[in-house]
């Protein structure tokens, strides 16, 4: 019986007289799953549901879970009416042209909208991901398949860069970009991906090592250059890796706060995450219901696209990380 169960995980391989124990283990497992989902998912649900609550209800005591009355006021404030400067907003509201439960955003966001921030982050991400995949792919290919002196050293050097804590790099990088005149553009946010991408290079390298050399050799013998081989042979075989890196880069660029915080000053160029950050800072504190409602709406608006993308691409994400650590 022990041998028959060999394919299952170790938990299943208990001596048969412990069927009760096995059931106990399963129950523990299910309880854990339920607990985990509760602890993780509930806060998100609460955030999402609360973003549809009216100002009054947000600060009701005891707090409610489901909105008593669903309202889009927070989202309207965030997406639609945030463009209107203060005075005009007040005039329009008095004239009854703006729905009751819409409140003004304060400070910097009279000019920019959340929509613009989405466009910005997509632009940053698009350039970054193309850069990371091409540059990382080429480097990975060369590190994996082309034998040249110093190859090992270069690889170690690249890996070492991942280990440098970013705080050490933050100031000099900022000064460097300032001297280049790149402050308040999206360039400093894209540059590391185009130039750095040691992670991507390493990832591709691990992947290319699993491709047999014969393919490359026969290509070379047919007179193809490494460049040609890379594009026509290697990349088509790397769809999974590309998808994984795509997701990784998406996660990191979408969620990045430090870069945009330090390099972007014009609200027109903000990313969604930065918008939320400023909303949290500028619009009152936690005890202000207007601020809380806006924050929750902004948080939901920036989390939902990511979660959806993640759920769809989940398979690649987990597979990608495990590929690095599973023993070869």
């Amino acid at each position: 019986m022990a041998v028959k169960n060999a394919e299952h995980s170790y938990i299943t391989r208990i001596e048969s007289n412990s069927r009760f124990l096995r059931m106990l283990r399963d129950v523990a497992g299910y309880v854990s799953i339920a607990l985990i989902c509760a602890v993780i998912v509930l806060p998100f649900c609460w955030m999402g549901l609360s973003s549809f609550k009216s100002r009054a209800e947000l600060f009701e005591y005891p707090p409610t879970f489901l909105p008593g009355r669903w309202t889009l006021g927070n989202y309207l404030s965030l997406f639609v009416y945030s463009r209107i400067p203060g005075k005009e907003f007040r005039d329009l509201k008095t004239a009854g042209k703006i729905p009751e439960d819409v409140w003004p955003t304060a400070g910097a966001f009279n000019e920019s909208t959340m929509f613009q921030s989405y466009a910005n982050v997509i632009k940053i991400f698009a350039f970054s991901v193309v850069g990371v995949i091409i540059v990382g792919g080429l480097a990975g290919y060369s590190l994996a398949k082309i034998k040249f002196p110093g190859r090992e050293t270069i690889m170690l050097l690249l890996i070492a860069t991942i280990m440098i804590p970013w705080m050490v790099l933050l100031l000099p990088q900022y000064l460097l970009f300032r001297d280049l005149g790149w402050i308040n553009t999206h360039l400093p946010l894209i540059a590391p991906s185009l130039l750095g991408s040691a992670f991507s290079a390493f990832f591709f390298r691990q992947h290319f090592r699993t491709i047999p050399n014969e393919i490359i050799e026969s290509g070379l013998m047919d007179g193809a250059t490494h460049w040609r081989i890379f594009w026509s042979l290697m990349m088509p075989l790397s769809k999974a890796v590309m998808a994984t890196i795509f997701l990784f880069t998406l996660m990191s660029k979408w969620n990045e706060l430090i870069g945009p915080l330090v390099y972007l000053q014009n609200p027109k160029k903000f990313t969604p995450v930065l918008v939320i950050y400023y909303l949290m800072r500028a619009v009152g504190n936690e005890n202000d219901p207007t601020a809380t409602g806006l924050r929750l709406a902004a948080a939901t608006a920036s989390v939902v696209p990511i979660i959806i993308t993640f759920l769809l691409g989940q398979k690649y994400f987990v597979a990608g990380i495990t590929q690095g650590s599973v023993k070869q």
Partner: protein, 297 residues
């Protein structure tokens, strides 16, 4: 000039890694050296640098309360965060390593989700939960336990608790992924042999699973430590550095000194110290791995 076949190969090799190399030199090596260099100066990035030798370091350790509190806060944070994150990740990885359970994918996705959520959103959620007046937590305390409303942000210990809870909630997924993958890669032959020998569950855990998992645990330890020491956004968003700097982790302090006080030189010296600390601890971990990590070679 016709290059030999081998030399032509070399050319391609170097060419393809050219961009990352340039990038590394420009964006990593150069800033690292600059940071070290700047730490010996007093500089506000506009006026010329003003050489002051080791004064920055002297100031840091003798007179500056803010940085010392920050170091202490960071060490406390690390002491709790790292073991707990790894512990939870390990716990869940072990429990969920049971193919008979349905709906495993739900739990796996759930654990990883906080990791892929922006820290801003995470902070928005938890600020609401910890809200002293209408937050979920205080409500539970008041209604179910009959306790008193706690202001989570006014006392250093409470604020640190908040930062830790949120960061562990978020960080579990990271260690979970690696540990789970490591568990999956343990060859089944070991368990077969153990079953034949009549080993109990606890014995299997202690003698097979954990020892074989040590390389992964080591990897997670190094990564989580380096990652946790660089925590910046969560404390910034949750407490802004805490009541009187109590939750100002090192990165936060560096950021504040550099961008709010404008003291680039001093900030560089704090960054340098932290870097060497991290380097030292990581090196120590690598040296110590011989004692407890089991590579099956």
């Amino acid at each position: 000039m016709k290059l030999s076949y081998r030399k032509k190969n070399y050319l391609y090799g170097y060419l393809f890694v050219l961009l990352p190399l340039i990038g590394t030199a420009v964006l990593y090596v150069y800033p690292l050296l600059m940071s070290l260099f700047n730490s010996f100066f007093q500089w506000n990035a506009i006026n010329p640098r003003h050489f002051i030798g080791l004064e920055n370091y002297e100031w840091m350790f003798t007179k500056d309360k803010q940085v010392l509190i920050s170091f202490k806060a960071t060490l406390t944070y690390l002491a709790f965060h790292v073991p707990l994150v790894i512990g939870f990740g390990l716990f869940f990885a072990l429990i969920l390593n049971n193919k008979r359970l349905r709906g495993l994918w739900m739990a796996r996705t759930a654990i990883i989700t906080p990791l892929v959520t922006a820290p801003v959103a995470v902070a928005a959620i938890w600020l609401y939960v910890f809200n002293p007046n209408v937050g979920l937590l205080n409500t539970i305390i008041l209604e179910w336990f009959g306790g008193e409303k706690i202001n989570w942000f006014s006392k250093p210990a409470h604020a640190m608790f908040v930062v830790m809870v949120v960061s562990i909630w978020r960080g579990m997924g990271y260690s979970f992924i690696f540990l789970f993958a490591g568990l999956q890669s343990i060859p089944t032959e070991f368990y077969e042999a153990a079953a034949l020998d009549g080993a109990s569950g606890a014995q299997r855990l202690r003698r097979i699973t954990l020892p074989l998992l040590t390389p992964t645990i080591f990897l997670v330890l190094v990564l989580v430590f380096i990652g946790a020491a660089q925590e910046f956004e969560l404390p910034l968003l949750l407490t802004g550095g805490g009541p009187r700097f109590a939750t100002s982790l090192v990165n936060l302090t560096i950021y504040r000194i550099a961008f709010q006080y404008g003291e680039m030189g001093y900030a560089s010296s704090v960054a340098t110290i932290t870097f060497f600390f991290l380097l030292g601890v990581t090196a120590f971990q690598f040296v110590m791995q011989k004692k407890w990590v089991n590579y099956m070679e």
